[in-house]
């Protein structure tokens, strides 16, 4: 498939590339050595920590999903239907603050 010239190009290329590796500068060689040592001393993450991390992520996910899906709780100050009138009334709320007095007044008409 390949002619003699192509074979020669491949042989020469291989020789030139091999030589380029032998002639790498000292700084590059040292960097590569340091990198190798760093790689080999880098402790792989313990399976136990990977599991714990996974579980923590799962819990946070579940909690977030629950909060997201669950219906918002209506915060209403109204506990009984009777109070609804009070909350929705446009009248001055001071009237209701003193409602006991007005009730007493209604029960004792002659004393006001």
């Amino acid at each position: 498939m390949t002619d003699e010239r192509e074979q020669q190009v491949m042989r020469n290329a291989k020789a030139v590339l091999d030589r380029s590796v032998e002639e790498l500068d000292q700084q590059t060689i040292l960097r590569l050595q340091r990198m190798r040592v760093t790689t080999l001393t880098a402790r792989p993450r313990s399976a136990r920590w990977v599991f714990a991390g996974g579980m923590a992520t799962l819990c946070v996910g579940v909690l977030a999903s629950v909060l997201w899906i669950s219906k918002p709780v209506a915060v209403m100050p109204v506990h009984e239907a009777d109070d609804l009138d009070v909350v929705t009334a446009a009248e001055n709320l001071e009237f209701y603050d003193e409602i006991d007095f007005y009730r007493w007044l209604a029960d004792h008409p002659g004393e006001g």
Binding site: M1, T2, R5, E6, V9, M10, N12, A13, K14, V16, L17, D18, R19, S20, V21, L24, T28, I29, R31, L32, Q33, M35, R36, T38, T39, L40, A42, P44
Partner: protein, 204 residues
Amino acid sequence: MQPAATSWNRAVSAESVWSIERGDALDRTRALDRFLAGIERRAYRMAQIATRDADDAMDLVQEAMLKLVQHYASRDEAEWGPLFHRILQSKIRDWYRRASVRNRLRVWFGHKEDDEESNALEQVPDTSSVNADKQLSQKRAAQALEIALRDLPLRQQQAFLLRVWEEDDVAETARIMGCSEGSVKTHLFRAVHALRDRLGEHWP
């Protein structure tokens, strides 16, 4: 006496297992060190030719080393070579994709494309001179090859370096490159032709 002896035996046995495991791990680390020491320079040169950048090449080689150590250290030693090259070539492809996007953006935002490299081959002096010093001639030949290799499309470059330099067979090269054996042959054919035309009759 019997229960005490049993627990003692158990303790000794556990200690032995721990020692063996520790010894195995140490042996494996030594084997990995030998393996990486044997391939790191060639791997760096491959990455450097692909990226044209020493720091990027270092990063890619380190990422490939880390992945091999963290994920495949327990595999058979004979598998480390092909696995490492598969990882490295995959990292180089990812780098190439990112670089392509960056270059497109650069062109989009009006930056002029750097054509210094494409003209570099023309700047390499003619090595056919009879009086040329041998060492200088070798250096120029290396420069010419490097520039010609860098200018090859990535897939052709990978096929050439793996088949010709690493001497991987077609099937292994195909596995490393993640393509068919037919594609490897095509890429190599084109690469050799391009290099032959580019480097000229008198190279090296």
